[in-house]
């Protein structure tokens, strides 16, 4: 984005963001200092301490660079009513939304001129970062269309409108919502030229599928070639998504992001090609924390891209799709 391009290097931009967050974000500053990291000794993006995603659940220590009550938007991680959900607060959404739009453009993704959303609407899911992202994409790329949200507030799926569609569509959905639709047994071939954006996992639930079987199933059920399945890797705790078309071996991010894969036993980066815990530096997370430690396993390809391997089986179940899974049922 324009802001990061104003710096001579990514390291310079990252260190400036770190300085800003160190100075303004009390909870992050305390954590960084416990690790001995300060603006005086952090000169490379790799040195910025990554905050574990579970820290976003500790609401008494908000990870924001502004007074929590000034947040204009708070996105929450998925979870059942009994689970503590992580919170990501925003002082304003302009940078967040710019990251979505410019990230889309940077990834050279097709314009979703006729988007359909197999998800709840922003009105029904105001704290879902994924739904907000869908809304941003719709408003930017197809402002003349009225958004088509196919899951109601009670989780009921209604695809009748989509079934009547004759023009190519861009179908946005969680993996679980796609599977629920398929399970309902209704044939839903999309018009030729359509493509599908899918995100989130489905392991640990009733459905047992490997990724290849999932893609084959979705491709067949919606009559969309596998090569036109776009997978997004995103998190409530991040502002910038990573994308991979089916067939790509890795997910790529925007220029204002970096990835590293860590050996959890030693806390140091793994050797190239080795599996470890994924950490992401996202400079669009300007007013929260830029460096996030996920509970996902991955293989780093380079500083910009990685092959995700899913949630570490030792971690607690969570993820973008679970909230939808709790809610949705085929009508």
């Amino acid at each position: 984005m324009e802001g990061s391009a104003a710096f001579p290097s990514f390291d310079a931009a990252a260190c400036e963001v770190f300085r800003h967050q160190f100075e303004q974000n009390d909870a992050f500053r305390a954590y960084a200092m416990a690790l001995g990291k300060t603006p005086a000794n952090v000169e490379l993006w790799q040195a910025i301490p990554a905050v574990p995603t579970d820290a976003f659940k500790l609401r008494r220590f908000p990870l924001t660079s502004f007074p929590r009550e000034q947040a204009v938007k708070v996105f929450r991680t998925s979870g059942t009513t009994s689970e503590v959900r992580g919170e990501h607060g925003f002082l304003d959404l302009s940078l967040y939304e710019k990251s979505i739009i410019q990230g889309w453009r940077h990834a050279n993704l097709p314009v979703p001129a006729n988007p359909w959303f197999l998800s709840q609407s922003p009105a029904n899911a105001p704290d879902s970062s994924l739904v907000h992202m869908f809304s941003v994409l719709q408003r930017h790329h197809a402002p003349e269309t009225s958004a088509s949200w196919m899951i109601d507030g009670d989780g009921k799926i209604d695809t009748s409108g989509l079934a009547r569609e004759t023009k190519p569509v861009a179908l946005f959905a969680t993996a679980l919502a796609l599977l629920r639709t398929i399970e309902s047994g209704k044939s839903l071939p999309l018009p030729p030229g359509s493509w599908i954006f899918e995100t989130g996992g489905y392991k640990g639930l009733a459905v047992e599928l490997d990724p290849a079987s999932f893609k084959a199933l979705v491709s067949e059920a919606f009559s969309v070639p596998q090569k036109l399945l776009l997978n997004e890797y995103g998190m409530t705790e991040l502002s910038s998504p990573f994308y991979a078309w089916s067939g790509d071996s890795y997910h790529s991010g925007s220029p204002w992001t970096r990835v590293r894969v860590i050996n959890p036993e030693t806390g140091t980066p793994v050797e190239p090609g080795q599996i470890g815990y994924l950490e992401i530096v996202d400079l669009a997370n300007l007013d929260s924390v830029a460096a996030i430690r996920t509970q996902d396993l991955a293989i780093a390809r380079d500083e910009h891209s990685f092959t995700p391997l899913g949630r570490d089986p030792g971690a607690l179940p969570r993820g973008c799709s679970r909230r939808s899974d709790d809610l949705i049922s085929a009508s």
Binding site: Y31, R60, F61, T266, D312, A315
Partner: protein
């Protein structure tokens, strides 16, 4: 058909292998166990008289053992009990196997080996057993509840954890409880996952520091074996969250091994009991008052198996009465239940027989 005496002799013959798993025993001890559970060691071989009734115990046969992969201890205890009462034993091994246990089974004398059938899979026909002993997590237990035919005796050993309570800090206590923590890398139900310290936060924090030194010394003397990546990840996650809370003044303190995850001590002023990531990770909390104890520890209390206490005396054991704990033992002994223990509060042999009476 073998007699009890023959089976006892055969078990005693493999005592060297079994004792690390089930504790010291000899023929009189096994006979005594039968007498304590069934009233008479002869009840499995002949009709015995009870008041005006003659009765005889018959083993649940076949008896299905569904084993978990944590340690060979629970597996061997369960199967030894099944062999002692003399029925046929169907053993469903965990998918990961239990190498030492399988080697023991493979070397058994025919008098015991003929009573055993071992598989890694679970044939549908095995669910039609007279009794089923299940070790596993809640999902496993729930699965067997729904799959085992109605009327089958189902003996459940679900997920358990153990804790230690230090009533009076003494120098030796840290070394003793270190054994309870590190044995079997905390994978067993009897592994201590938290230590509660009497005397308030300052005393608990001092003990946490002492415990950290003890764990460090123990790991230096006997380094931990390599652990799976997920296990390292779970420890690393727990450490970083503790570090975050500690840095933000949330009443935590952290001691940890440098450069690896081989040992970790977290002092947490909040008393809530939570399962830890194992492999040498221990939480230390101040001990709540007796009145508040049950509520303060939270819902995990219902999964408690053993509480190691120090000093070990009746007054201290009675302090914990509200927790309704199946077993209390001294520091250093949590992983070594005696032959006579009531596993998860159940009568381990009495559960494995049914009785026939001949009444006047």
């Amino acid at each position: 058909m073998s007699t009890v005496s023959q089976r006892i002799d055969a078990l005693v013959a493999c005592r060297e292998t079994l004792e690390p798993w089930i504790g010291p025993f000899d023929a009189p001890a096994l006979t005594g166990l039968l007498e304590s559970q069934l009233g008479s060691a002869l009840a499995l071989d002949s009709w015995i008289t009870r008041g005006d009734t003659r009765c005889r115990a018959f083993p649940l046969s076949p008896l299905l053992h569904v084993l978990s992969g944590n340690t060979p201890h629970a597996a061997s205890q369960s199967v030894v009990r099944g062999l002692l009462v003399g029925g046929r034993n169907r053993i469903k091994l965990p998918s990961s196997g239990l190498l030492e246990f399988e080697e023991w089974i493979g070397g058994l004398a025919p008098i015991l080996g003929d009573l055993i059938e071992v598989r890694h899979d679970l044939p549908e026909s095995w669910l039609n057993s007279a009794g089923v002993v299940v070790f596993g997590n809640e999902r496993t237990i729930e699965t067997f509840r729904s799959r085992v035919p109605a009327g089958t005796r189902l003996i459940e050993h679900g997920p358990k954890l153990s804790i230690a309570v230090l009533f009076q800090p003494e120098p030796a206590a840290a070394e003793l409880v270190t054994r309870d923590i590190l044995a079997h890398e905390q994978r067993g139900c009897l592994s201590v996952q938290a230590v509660y310290v009497n005397g308030g936060p300052a005393a608990a924090k001092r003990f946490a520091e002492r415990l950290a030194q003890s764990l460090e010394a123990a790991r230096a003397a006997e380094p931990r074996k390599a652990i799976p990546r997920s296990d390292s990840g779970a420890i690393s996650n727990a450490r970083e969250l503790a570090r975050f809370r500690a840095a933000n003044g949330d009443g935590l303190a952290l001691w940890e091994s440098a450069g690896d995850t081989s040992w970790t001590v977290v002092y947490d002023h909040e008393p809530t009991l939570a399962p830890g990531p194992l492999n040498g990770f221990i939480r230390v909390h101040p001990l709540p008052t007796a009145t508040l104890l049950e509520d303060a520890l939270g819902p995990e209390v219902r999964h408690l198996s053993t509480v190691a206490i120090h000093p070990y005396n009746n007054d201290n054991a009675d302090f914990l009465a509200a927790l309704d704990i199946p077993r209390i033992c001294p520091f250093g002994r949590s992983q070594f239940p005696p032959l006579f223990w009531h596993h998860d509060g159940r009568p381990p042999l009495a559960d494995l027989v049914h009785w026939r009476d001949r009444s006047p």
